[in-house]
Symmetry: C2
Subunit: 421 residues, 2 copies
């Protein structure tokens, strides 16, 4: 496993003997690669209006200005009696003030009685404070005998009253453009009676499989052929992180086909190719993109997933992923997800990794950042990597561990950080 | 803020003077409450078949047996030359063996040439090993001169060959019933050519708002009324955790209405009521559920969110949530999410909390577990709680901190665990 130069192509198909099989020469570091990719990723500008019930997980495209106060009226913060505070000032534990109960109001009701000195109105939490009263005496501080309510403790004006607009006050910007709509924020919109909301569109992502050995699902496999895996792993990941994937027909390994397909894909917000960016057929993919725009880098010092390509054509970011399923999917997590989240204007993933001891010693390659898929078993991180071509490496893992480029060995029992899928 | 007995009803509406306003008496602990709820939550049994592209995030309802080998043929693990290993045994750095190049095969192609001693076939990673050859010499260990390929290093049989079925071998159970379909697992299904998959149905959840002061979105607010917030926060949370919410019309605060509505909701997998489970109107909700089945508990020692109700009617779990938006939503995260995930057969949320210092001292109540919404700002957890009725407490927070029942004070700068929303 010392030299991975040539084992990450998924159906390479060397075009010419010798010259087509040069290893990648200008590897850049993971950090540098990600920095370039992120600098080229443009946050989406298109907007759309969606009903509140479909707004979850979407990103606000404009500030939300409150057009009403919430609560829209001063309300009781306790169950008890609405009073004129000054009526209660003489009250004490041994010297209750007796007030006349003139009305009982329930949730959603308004008081009908005229308020005057010496009276009180029974009120439940959340009810509007009857006009003319200015405080609520808690039920615990009273004693009732028919219509006579004895108050044992004074209240000051506005005590136990939630003022109008306490939660949200009219004409303030309560949610800002760029905010992710969480359950709580959906609640703010509901509280304001807002039924539709302007959000950024989800980025449309072109997913382009390539490789002459690849067959779409639904066809039968002739000898030498395998099913298209990457289109499905990538589009699942894209959906998970706020994009709308479109799987293209399998692209042929010819200059003309790459040219035509990439041109068509420029209508999308992001273009992801899989396969065909490794050494064997580098000519076709790299040549096509060089002809149409610019190749920003080709080859990252990461394992697996080295033959990663970054291009820019007419301002569109093109990411070329390795064809081998594990390489493609680890790269998906490592590069595509942060790029897509930036395009979709989603915040960076913030969940922190889980710290667990490694179940066995792992050897890595100096100079290459390694993504190591791991299972979590009995409180240990168990390496699950089989080989770049094995999709089960990822399917049976719970997350991954990153081994930096300057580390060549992680001992058994050493605590590592597991990033969950 | 010492006594919260009465401030968590959302439009209580005390039914009778005095007797209707008893505080909750039989509080149980958070742990006990959650244990009871989880013991009553029944994992869904209904299954359905979905296309692979819609299978993401779903839970497998049966084991997946591989009906083919992956790879379906032995393939080259390197770019190079397929050979008969024994032809290369004499090779050395200064004594190359020269083989005749008889064919070049590209991705997806099969060799046509008859293999015999002394020949080799140029091959790319992923290509099927030509019949009759048994190893691949890496291109780096060779030199080409026209049709003459000089091999400088011997290979042993099967070297640089990935055997048929290496990743997935035919007739093994490769994915198990109950597994969550992640991008990697979707990839396994694709590799096997599987286009449809049997998964558990998503639980259907009845979301029933109540409270006479509550008005559905789209209607105008008359004085004393407020918009329905909880139906939207809860259904967003339900969707986020694998359920299909159905928002019911706002339920009246009468025995007959609760009876009729709960009866209708028994057709769902889980029933969530909001509002009407606090002290003011406990009679109606509790009475109705007692009459129809059993009230398992009413009142949890948690802040906010105390007036939480757990009932069981005809085997259906009924969760009564407080009406106040913050209380309702924190309870949604604390109780509804784990219960729903169990019903949906989703694994427990495993992301670990972020550890940050608290930006200011927080006082809590001994005997009540507190959910404290916090914002993350400049590497600190900043308390964001306003009051139970304020939806902005949750909307402008990034997560929550839990303060156990036996803690009454958390000092400024103390490191707390923030659970992200």
């Amino acid at each position: 496993m010392k030299d991975h130069h040539h084992n990450e192509t998924h159906g390479a198909g060397a075009k010419a003997h010798g010259s087509g099989m040069k290893p990648l020469k200008t590897l850049i570091s993971l950090e540098e690669g990600l920095k370039i990719l992120l600098s080229l990723a443009k946050p989406i500008e298109r907007k759309e209006i969606v009903p509140l019930q479909e707004a979850h997980g979407r990103v606000l495209a404009r500030d939300v200005l409150a057009e009403m106060d919430v609560p829209p009226f001063p309300r009781a913060a306790m169950d008890g009696y609405a009073v004129l505070a000054e009526d209660t000032f003489p009250a004490g534990t041994f010297t209750p003030v007796t007030l006349e109960l003139v009305e009982v109001i329930h949730a959603g009701e308004l008081a009908k009685e005229q308020v005057r000195k010496g009276i009180c109105i029974q009120i439940a939490t959340g009810c509007p404070i009857p006009e003319g009263t200015d405080a609520v005496v808690m039920v615990e501080d009273t004693e009732a005998e028919g219509k006579a309510i004895r108050v044992y403790k004074p209240v000051y004006p506005r005590q136990n009253v939630s003022p109008q607009g306490q939660d949200i006050s009219k004409r303030t910007v309560i949610l800002k453009e760029g905010m992710l709509l969480s359950p709580g924020r959906i609640g703010v919109l509901a509280a304001l009676g807002i039924q539709k909301v302007e959000v950024y569109q989800k980025p449309r992502v072109a997913v382009i499989p390539s490789g002459n050995e690849i067959v779409p699902l639904g066809e039968s496999l002739s000898p030498g052929k395998i099913y298209d895996v990457n289109s499905y792993t990538l589009s699942t990941l894209i959906e998970e992180h706020g994009g709308i994937p479109t799987i293209f027909p399998i692209m042929e390994d010819t200059l003309e086909a790459v040219h035509r397909t990439v041109k068509e894909a420029l209508a999308y917000d992001l273009v992801v190719l899989s396969g065909g960016s490794s050494v064997g057929e580098r000519d076709v993919m790299v040549q096509a993109i060089e002809a149409m725009g610019e190749v920003k880098f080709h080859g990252i010092a990461v394992k697996p997933g080295k033959p990663t390509l970054c291009g820019l054509v007419e301002g569109r970011l093109i990411i070329g992923m390795p064809g081998y399923p594990t390489s493609c999917l680890t790269n998906g997590y490592g590069f595509l997800v942060p790029v897509l989240r930036k395009v979709a204007r989603l915040p960076e993933r913030r969940s922190s990794p889980i710290r667990l001891p490694l179940s066995r010693r792992v050897v890595s390659t100096i100079g290459r950042h390694q993504y190591l898929p791991v299972r979590i078993e009995d409180g240990e991180a168990v390496p699950a990597f089989k080989e770049s071509g094995a999709i089960t490496s990822m399917a049976l893992a719970d997350g991954w561990v990153e081994i930096p480029a300057n580390v060549d060995l992680v001992e058994r029992g050493e605590v590592v950080e597991v990033h969950l899928f």
